[in-house]
Every structure is written in C-alpha cells, then in structure tokens.
Amino acid sequence: MSREEILTKVSTVFSNVLEHNNFELTNATTAEDVDGWESITHMMIITEIEKTFDIKFKLMDLMNMNSVGDLLNTIETELSIN
C-alpha cells in the first residue's frame, strides 16, 4: 500500500471519528491543528486505524507518536511486518 493510499484511509478514519473534515492531514499535522483531536478521540482514532489496516500498534510506538507523519510511519512499519 502506498503512503498516499494509507493517508487517504487515515483521513477517512479521522473524519468518521471527529465527524467533520475541516482538516488537511500532512506529515507535520499534530493534534493542535485539528478540531476535536484530543485524548479521548485519539484513542478512538487509534482503534479505528487498527481495524481499518488490520494491525495492532505497540504502546512504545503510540507513546512517541506526535504527528500524522509519525502515525503514517508506524502504519507502514506494521504493514510491512504483516
């Protein structure tokens, strides 16, 4: 799966969970940039992404995830392991 395809799917998860799409996700995007992206919705987003890609994140990766770029990197790594 290309990084762009991953990003498209991730954007869909974001708009489903946050119930809006007033955002553009880039590598540099962080929770501060997106309305409603905070602690609890983040947990929902993570669960949804795990389902969408059929992967399971590691806590060590989640704890260092600070931006959409980090998120995409981790998804790529997980997909390559599977």
Binding site: I40, T41, M43, M44, L59, M63
Partner: protein, 498 residues
C-alpha cells in the same frame, strides 16, 4: 499553620533537588522558591490583606503552582479556574466568591474586569518564605463542582481541613514519600484530587511530573512512567481502562505506590494492572471534595487483599480522626452488613457549601455521640460495613433507582452483565424514563455491536426479571466529564425510547 511551615522547610532543605518537570523542563526547589517569593511580593504589594479569595488561572507552569504556595504563606485561598472552561462560567465563579484579584501567568489575560497579577513577568522578590500568622479557619481553597441545577456548587476548604488531611496521611505507615520520589501529577488544578498530587510531593521534597495540555494524556502518562521511571502514581480508574489493551507491554519496576480515587475501581482490571507494576503497593482511596480529598483507603493486593462487592474493590477503613457512619433515610445507623448512605465526620469536613444554605441543610447533620455533637456530611454513596469493619462500596445513592416499585442497584446489573461477557468492555446500566415517565432499564456497552444474548441469558439466572435491561445501545466511546468520570447524563441521550 504547621503544614505550611513544613512546605517552607521542605523547599529550603531540598533547594538543589527538582520540584517540577513540565514539558520535559526541570525546575529545582530553588527555582520554585524564587517564583513563590516573586508572587508573594506582588500579592503583598497589590492585594489588601482583607481580600482573601484570590482567583488563579490554572495554566500548566511553575508560576501557577508557586501561586498556590505564595497565597498560602499569606493566609489566602486560591479559587482556581481552568483556562479552557467557558469564560462565562469562570466569571460566574468569581462573582460567587466576590473575587477582585486574579493571578494569571497567561501572556495575555482575558480577565480584564479584575485586578490581574501577571505572574509570568514579575521581578522583585519577597524577602521571606516564612508563613504569616493567621487563623486555621481561613480558607485554603474553594473548588466548584457541577451542581444539579446547573449553578456551580462551591466547596470551601480551610487550612485546618488541609492540616487534618496531612496529619492523617503522615499517620499512615504504608505510605511515605521521600525526596527521591518522582510523582505523577495528572490532574487539572480545579479538580480536588490535584491537592494530594502537588501537596504531598512538595512536603516530601519530591519531584512532580505534569501532563502538558494538548498531549494525548493516556500515552503521555505511560511515557513518563517509562522514561522518567516514576515511582508514585495517583490516578482515576478511567486511565487504566484506556491503557488496558496494552497491559501485556507494560512492566514498570520503578513504581512503588499507585493510588486510585475518584471512581469505582473494579477488581478484574486492578489485578491485571498490579501485574504491570511488580513492585507496587496499590491503594484504593475514597473521599469526596467536601471532606478534603481523602477520607480513607483499602490496601489492595492481588493475592492477599481482594475484598470486593459486586466486583468493586472495597474502600476499607477511615483514616486517622475520621468517622464513617452508614445510615438509613432518617440518618440512623444501620446494622453491620446492611446497605445505607455513607456519612463522614471529623476535622476534614468542609464548613459547608459556599452560600447555599438549602443544600447545606440537605447534606449535613449533627449527631450526638457519647455526649459530643459530631457533624456529618452525607456523601450520597451507598456502602456496607462488614464484620472486619471494612467498608464496601455499593454505588451512588442516586444510582439506586426504582423500577416498577422495586429498588434496583445499577452497579449490580453492571456486575452481572460484565462478569459473563467474553469481551472485556465497559458497561453502564441506566434508568431511562419512558413516555409515561416510568423508569426502564438500559444497558450502554462501550463497543462495536456484538451478540449479547448469552449475557442476557446469564443475567436472567442471576437477577429478577425487573432487573434485566430492556434496551441495549452500543456506543463506541463513552462520554467522560473533565474529571474522567463517565458522563451518565450524556449516555442516557443515546436511549430514545417510546
């Protein structure tokens, strides 16, 4: 005030130790002392000594913590307001307390109508850290909680109240902080639980680690535990509910104490969590804001101390000088083994809700015991005292509902539903009013939809028919209040029943 003198001594003798870690920046006790003295200088020079209730904007920075101590040295109370709360509500709080002065470390303060001390730009130092002499009846803080009528309810706590809390914790041999401890401070300062997470580390010369705004709380807490090797955790149970999928990856040997409070702690998750912290003592604390944070605890241990009621860990015994009393509707003590409302008496009891005589009449009563008048606070929590004089938590009194005339304890339904479920998810039983105004039972499940028929079959073998929920809703994530408690009112909105 002895405990303020003790804070002063702790600051002095730990000058080179770290006091705070905020967003990966460390501040020593020397740094902390300097901030306190600057703010004290400003307080002494701008606030009349008769003004004692001072607003405090709760930013996540050293100045905000230093402001609390500076106010206490002067015998004044802090009235905290969260900068993320709607301004209207914060203004309303200051109106209720007739506050004129606000300490705010924000670059630009929005409290134009008040005398603002901008604690971020002060220069001059007060010469001393010695506390003034003042009466222990002075207030140390007022916290506002949501009232049922929509008007925030103020809970004033005096310096004597706080002193009694400190004395009670010092009396407890099982819990001793020292100046090498690294302590989690995850609470917003408008939440009463924060008082123990900043006060005890400061008294011990330990370092506290805060959660910066804008971070993902649950993962940041884990990151702190792991990278900073935290030794003392104080948290609400909802934190570990979110971390639960990752428990197999957690094994943190540095943690020696983990205290829970602010909600029911369930034994299944507590057992799993205690396996993540192999060297840790777990305390299940109980206590309402009205009784200065903690009133007692149960020392949970996965093998030796596992007392529960409906899957909820016991709240144990009252701490030093605190009295527990379980009463019926007429405020009369009920026999051992019977459910009643838990009432608390002793020196940590609030003087009463802020300017709310009506509520005070409902929530406090005087009982004569051995010729002495004891004032009790009615907690609204249902408890049972057992034969070992341990107290078992049953549920909120207002979660005891009447269904077709029968008294139903919602936590009991939750217990039976969860005990059989193969999926380990949160379930909350709710009473929902139908069109006729009768209460029907609903079960909210925090999950994607799944087949619940076997759960219902099980419940029917354990409970009478009227206790079996008639409505089920799957909700992906439960709504929580700012303090991390499940928002039942909001959950009820998912049940649209005819």
């Amino acid at each position: 005030m002895r405990f303020i003198k003790d804070i002063q001594n702790s600051i002095r003798s730990n000058n080179s130790h770290n006091s705070l870690c905020i967003n990966n920046i460390f501040y020593t006790y020397k740094d902390f002392e300097n901030e306190i003295r600057k703010i004290r200088f400003a307080i002494v020079n701008t606030i009349e000594s008769s003004e004692r209730l001072i607003g405090l904007v709760t930013n996540d920075d050293i100045q905000t913590y230093a402001s609390i101590i500076a106010l206490w040295l002067e015998g004044k109370a802090y009235v905290p307001v969260n900068p993320e709360t709607p301004l209207d509500r914060n203004y309303h709080i200051f109106e209720l307390t007739k506050t004129k002065h606000v300490i705010d470390s924000s670059k630009e303060s929005v409290y134009d109508d008040y005398e603002v001390i901008n604690s971020g730009v002060l220069q001059d130092l007060h010469p001393s850290l010695s506390p003034k002499n003042f009466s222990g009846e002075h207030l140390a803080y007022i916290l506002f909680t949501s009232g049922t009528t929509g008007v925030p309810k103020g809970v004033p706590i005096t310096f004597n109240n706080v002193q009694a809390l400190v004395d009670a914790i010092n009396e407890e041999p099982e819990f001793n902080l020292n100046n090498t401890d690294r302590c989690l401070q995850m609470f917003e300062l408008t939440f009463d639980f924060s008082v123990v997470t900043y006060l005890f580390p400061l008294l011990a010369g330990a370092c506290m680690y805060t959660i910066p705004k804008g971070t993902i709380k649950y993962f940041y807490i884990f990151k702190l535990i792991k990278e900073k090797a935290l030794t003392v955790l104080t948290m609400v149970p909802s934190i570990i509910n979110y971390l639960r999928p990752y428990f197999p990856e957690i094994n943190e040997e540095s943690v020696r104490y983990c205290s829970f409070g602010g909600g029911a702690l369930h034994s299944d998750i507590a057992k799993e969590w205690s396996e993540c912290l192999p060297n840790c003592k777990i305390f299940n604390y109980y206590g309402p804001t009205e009784f200065t944070v903690y009133s007692g605890f149960y020392p949970y241990h996965k093998d030796t101390h596992t007392k529960t009621y409906n899957g909820i860990i016991a709240i144990g015994k009252p701490q030093k000088d605190t009295l527990y009393l379980v009463v019926n509707e007429n405020n009369e003590e009920v026999p051992i083994g019977e459910t009643g409302e838990l009432c608390l008496g002793g020196p940590q009891i609030t003087p009463g809700y802020w300017k709310n005589e009506e509520k005070n009449k409902q929530s406090f009563f005087i009982r004569n015991e051995n010729g002495k008048d004891i004032r009790y606070y009615k907690t609204g929590d249902l408890c049972i005292k057992d034969n070992d004089s341990d107290f078992l938590y049953v549920g909120r009194a207002d979660f005891q509902v009447k269904i077709r005339g029968y008294r139903v304890e919602l936590s009991e339904i939750e217990f039976h539903a969860k005990s059989k479920s193969k999926k380990k998810v949160n379930m909350v039983a709710l009473d929902i009013n139908n069109k006729l105004g009768n209460a029907e039972l609903g079960l909210a499940i925090e999950s994607e939809p799944f087949d619940t028929s076997y759960i219902f079959e099980h419940m029917k073998t354990k409970m009478p028919n009227y206790m079996i929920p008639m409505h089920v809703r799957f909700i992906k994530d439960f709504p929580h209040s700012i303090n991390g408690k499940i928002d039942r009112k909001e959950l009820k909105k998912h049940f649209d029943i005819k």
